[in-house]
């Protein structure tokens, strides 16, 4: 298997990051300079399992490269098929992203994943990043000419029920491997038709960290687990599948309409050792369904929220129609009221109802 390449402008830093990601042999990352990458690209010799790209390359004395410019040129070469398709992951500090990109989303489509360098040394983050790198490389290797349903490990009937028609259309129109792969990766990492374990637990109203019965429950949910391309690296569940699974045992109460107590009561009849989720005071409501984007962005923490008591949060990128809308929990939203991405109408309405309740 080929190495991942990490393009960064600081020799010592890139060696540290590459060394950390390669330490246990799960992936192999080799650090190279922007100049070296440019030379290889010009000679059509830029080949890799994938690229980790720093945005700001200004510390490299002999080069005037920028991460964005180099990425655009690589994508163009991949489009011309003079360079093989491989994933490109934006791998930069948050403040470098803020300084070089800010709220401009025009470069977002060039990258398959965006990973902040800032939290890499936090516990478990290297392992998680390694899985993502392996996963995205596997998507590139396998996306080929399969149908959407095949890519996602479903038969056509289930894809029609659980997947997204617009997503299929977009995938059908993608005429290059890297365009297809990037779309599939987006489907895997964005909460929409597929959901992560955190969102799954929130929707079931379970505090998974405290629940001994959580493993048993997820085992029972294997029928709605994602088994498609790269499922080993992206542990996901079908969102619609979850609702169907719930409806099988509780047909009169759709999952989204129940509160934590209802969900816990229903699940406890079938599973032991489940602790009901306790909503934090700054995230009111009893029907948790999503996570707070603002909290995740600031601390990396997943804060479950009830969308009926939360504030819509406009993501930097245009959200595809198959993706879930993004929200911020009310408490963090109130304390970040100056953030223009928050829906001012929602905030005002919820604050007003808070005042009335007091």
């Amino acid at each position: 298997m080929m190495d991942w390449l990490f393009i960064d402008d600081s020799r010592e830093d890139r060696d540290s990051f590459a060394g950390a990601l390669s330490a246990d042999g799960i992936v192999t990352v080799t650090a190279i300079s922007a100049t070296e990458a440019r030379t290889r690209l010009a000679e059509s010799k830029l080949e890799a399992a994938g690229l980790l790209m720093d945005i700001d390359l200004s510390n490299e004395s002999q080069s005037k490269e920028s991460g964005l410019g180099l990425t655009a040129d690589i994508r163009a070469a991949q489009h011309r098929e003079t360079t093989p398709a491989f994933p490109i992951v934006r791998f930069s500090y948050r403040d470098k992203v803020a300084a070089n990109i800010g709220s401009d989303s025009s470069s977002d489509d060039s990258f398959d994943l965006k990973i902040d360098k800032d939290r890499l040394s936090n516990e478990g983050v290297v392992a998680s990043v390694q899985q993502k790198l392996l996963g995205v490389a596997e998507v590139y290797a396998g996306v080929g000419k399969s149908s959407t349903a095949e890519v996602f490990g479903l038969d056509e009937e289930h894809w029609a029920a659980w997947g997204s028609r617009t997503f299929s259309e977009e995938l059908r129109l993608s005429d290059r491997t890297y365009v297809k792969a990037r779309l599939v990766v987006l489907g895997l990492v964005t909460s929409g038709f597929l959901i992560s374990e955190d969102v799954l637990a929130a929707r079931l109203g379970v505090d998974r960290g405290s629940s001994k019965g959580w493993a048993e429950l997820t085992k029972a949910l294997s029928s709605i687990g994602y088994t498609g391309l790269s499922s080993k690296h992206f542990q996901r569940w079908w969102a619609r599948g979850l609702e169907e699974w719930w409806a099988e045992s509780t047909p009169d109460n759709p999952l989204a309409g129940t509160n934590i107590a209802d969900r816990h009561a229903a699940l406890s009849k079938r599973f032991e050792g489940l602790v009901p989720l306790k909503m934090r005071e700054d995230s009111p409501g009893q029907r948790p369904w999503r996570g707070c984007e603002l909290t995740y962005e600031e601390t990396g923490e997943f804060l479950p929220l009830d969308p009926s008591r939360a504030v819509r949060f406009r993501a930097r990128m245009t959200v595809p129609d198959w993706a879930d809308p993004t929200y911020a929990a009310l408490g963090p939203a109130i304390k970040h009221a100056e953030d223009p991405r928050l829906d001012a109408g929602d905030l005002k309405r919820l604050q007003s109802s808070l005042r009335k309740a007091q």
Binding site: S10, E12, D13, S16, F17, G19, A20, A23, Y93, D95, A98, K117, D118, L120, S121, V126, R280, E281, D282, P284, T299, L330, G331, I334, K335, H336, A337, E338, L354
Partner: protein, 658 residues
């Protein structure tokens, strides 16, 4: 002098006394001159010379009287009468009186003359007499104007009139035979005195500093002056400034002898000029602000040793301690005076000097306009609008001068704070950038090392400790980075106090844990507690300053260390209360802790690094008050909440936009 000495030393030309006995009997002074004709020079000043000398308090003295007018051209010397007679007993010593002066002497000429003999005199004795019996008391030069029939001679110039009486305070230091150092501040014309206080420059916090390891038997007495025109009468200011410009500094005497070059013009052995020039200390602290003496009593030469060139002392441990403790005392005292002066200025109601002097200027302008309308020649009495306007304009000019001086200090302080802020921001940014890389490398090093030392619990603990330290540094730099990036936005906006407290806790709790301190917060989950427009970094700065003070206060106690920060809405205000379990704030200090330069900490010595200098400068809580005042709020020490010993409260006006 006895009769023989007087006759052979004073009444003979080319006396051989100085050759036979080059040192004086009593104090071993080097006898000056060789030709024995020095006395004739007094005739240039006055026509009469009277020398009186006493050897014993119980015996008669001798008086020699010479009338120079008797020395006529062509007359033999042995024919000229010189009167030598016995006079009543007095305490031992010699006085020379030159009278019937040939010229008129103005006071300024007399003063110049006094300055001419300035260097003959040791400024003042410092060590108590009982500590050095038999020591040479030195010379004292007093200039008098002859009294009239019914009045005593009038003192024109001596040390007291020329320098000492104009200085603003006296600072003393005493290091005893066991190395214990104490200092005090007395005769403070700009504020309150400070009694004897124990000090060690390496142990600046309040408490019981240890004695010095090497330094023994030192006395320092230093007069301090704030060289600003407002602190002197105009005539005196120029004189004192000029004198201190050339003579200011701290002189060093060892066993009664002056040690050169310490305290000479241009010598900065205590690094006071250097420190002030760096502008890291903003109150006057340069050599020209001091006139002082340090005396060392080290007859055996055990602690101090002179260079073979006799120029200065070798850098022994005792000498290094001397420099540190002396500079620390001088800085501590000057800072105390600066703090008291600042308070006095405020108490005088001149918190807004611009408004005061603008009003005066407006008055002057109005009067000038009235003067324009006044017919020519109608202001002969000097009381009309024209004269009044001229007077007001003159006053306004003076006010502008003093305000300009005040603003120059403010500007210097702002420059210093801005530099420190930028340096801190740059530092945290640069370190923050590399921290991830450092942490990742450490993780690998630790992993490999732990594998190689499997089962070694001590090593595993070491790794845990190192990991923890890296984590704490990372958390702190991340917080500082976030603040630094917030600073780049200059617009003022409502600030969420609850968010600021939460971010503070996220950034500082690991660091607090390292100091075995539990950091607890309480914020409302669904209330942003928005203040009136200010800067987010300002609220963080308030919290960081409180934190820094709390950590110091808790280090002085032995109990459990806890910090509790709560933010809430109270009576329409946004209130942040910061409590700790430190040693508390004395009642008498409650009103003063937010004053400029107020600190309970002794100053770092002058050779300290800039970082050390910036700790305990008395600026932190003053900055808090500046921030809070600008936001129409209040900062105060309030009664501590239950379970804590100190509570500082910041009350800010709530945003109306909420």
């Amino acid at each position: 002098m006895d009769r023989g000495e007087l006759v052979s030393g004073f009444l003979r030309l080319a006396s051989d006394l100085k050759v036979a006995e080059p040192l004086s009997q009593r104090f071993g002074r080097q006898r000056a001159g060789r030709k024995g004709i020095g006395r004739f020079s007094t005739q240039r000043l006055g026509s009469r010379l009277v020398l009186r000398t006493w050897q014993d308090s119980n015996k008669n003295g001798l008086q020699l009287t010479i009338n120079w007018s008797d020395f006529e051209r062509g007359r033999a010397l042995d024919k000229i009468p010189v009167w030598l007679e016995e006079i009543d007993p007095r305490h031992p010593g010699t006085r020379i009186e030159i009278s019937d002066l040939r010229d008129e002497w103005t006071e300024s000429q007399i003063r110049r003359c006094w300055r001419g003999v300035f260097n003959l005199q040791q400024p003042f004795p410092v060590a108590p007499v009982e500590d050095r019996p038999g020591e040479d008391p030195g010379f004292e030069v007093n200039f008098y104007r002859k009294g009239h029939v019914f009045s005593d001679p009038e003192l024109i110039a001596n040390f007291e009139t020329e320098i000492l009486s104009h200085m603003h305070a006296i600072v003393e230091l005493h290091v005893d035979g066991d190395g214990a150092a104490d200092w005090r501040l007395t005769h403070n014309k700009l504020g309150e005195d400070v009694g004897w206080t124990r000090i060690h420059h390496d142990e600046p916090e309040e408490g019981a500093p240890s004695p010095y390891a090497h330094l023994r038997n030192v006395w320092m007495k230093a007069y301090y002056a704030v060289l600003e025109p407002t602190e002197f009468s105009p005539m005196v200011y120029t004189r004192v400034r000029e004198l201190l410009r050339t003579e200011g500094g701290i002189r060093l005497y060892r066993n009664g002898f002056r040690v050169i070059p310490y305290g000479e013009p241009g010598d900065d052995w205590l690094q006071l000029d250097e420190l002030y020039a760096r502008r890291t200390i903003l109150f006057p602290i340069a050599n020209r602000n001091w006139f002082g003496v340090i005396e060392l009593n080290d007859p055996e030469g055990n602690l101090f040793e002179e260079h073979t060139s006799r120029e200065g002392l070798i850098e022994t441990p005792a000498f290094q301690e001397l420099r540190d403790v002396a500079s620390s005392v001088l800085i501590t005292a000057a800072r105390k005076i600066a703090e008291q002066r600042t308070r006095k200025t405020r108490a005088g109601g001149r918190t807004e000097p611009t408004e005061f002097f603008l009003q005066r200027l407006r008055d002057a302008a109005r009067r000038a306009r009235e003067g324009q309308e006044e017919p020519e020649g109608t202001d002969e009495t000097g009381t009309g609008p024209k004269s009044e306007a001229a007077k007001l304009l003159g006053e306004a000019e003076t006010i502008i001068e003093s305000v300009r001086a005040e603003f120059a200090d403010d500007a210097a302080m702002l420059r210093l704070l801005a530099t420190l802020g930028l340096t801190a921001a740059e530092f945290s940014h640069e370190t923050g950038m590399t921290f991830q890389a450092v942490r990742l490398d450490f993780q690998q090093v630790f992993a490999v090392a732990l594998e190689g030392r499997a089962g070694d619990n001590e090593f595993a603990n070491l790794v845990d400790r190192a990991r923890g330290m890296v984590d704490r540094l990372d958390a702190l730099t991340s917080y500082l980075n976030e603040l630094a990036s917030a600073r780049s936005a200059r617009e003022l906006a409502p600030v969420s106090a609850s968010r600021s407290v939460e971010e503070f806790a996220r950034g500082m709790s690991q660091l607090a844990a390292r100091g075995e301190t539990e950091l607890l917060i309480q914020t409302p989950p669904l209330d942003g507690l928005y203040t009136k427009p200010m800067h987010r970094a300002e609220v963080a700065s308030i919290l960081l300053n409180f934190y820094s003070n709390s950590m110091k206060a808790m280090k002085r106690t032995k109990g459990a260390r806890r910090i509790y920060v709560e933010a809430e809405r109270d009576d329409g205000d946004i209130v942040i209360r910061f409590s700790d379990t430190g040693d508390g704030i004395r009642d008498e200090d409650r009103e003063r802790i937010f004053d400029l330069f107020y600190t309970t900490r002794a100053a770092s010595p002058s050779r300290a690094s800039t970082l050390e200098e910036s700790i305990g400068t008395g600026l932190g809580l003053w900055i808090v008050r500046q921030i809070v005042s600008r936001a129409d709020g209040e900062a105060a020490v309030v009664d501590p909440i239950e379970g804590y010993s100190t509570t500082l409260e910041v009350r800010l006006a709530a945003s109306e936009e909420e």
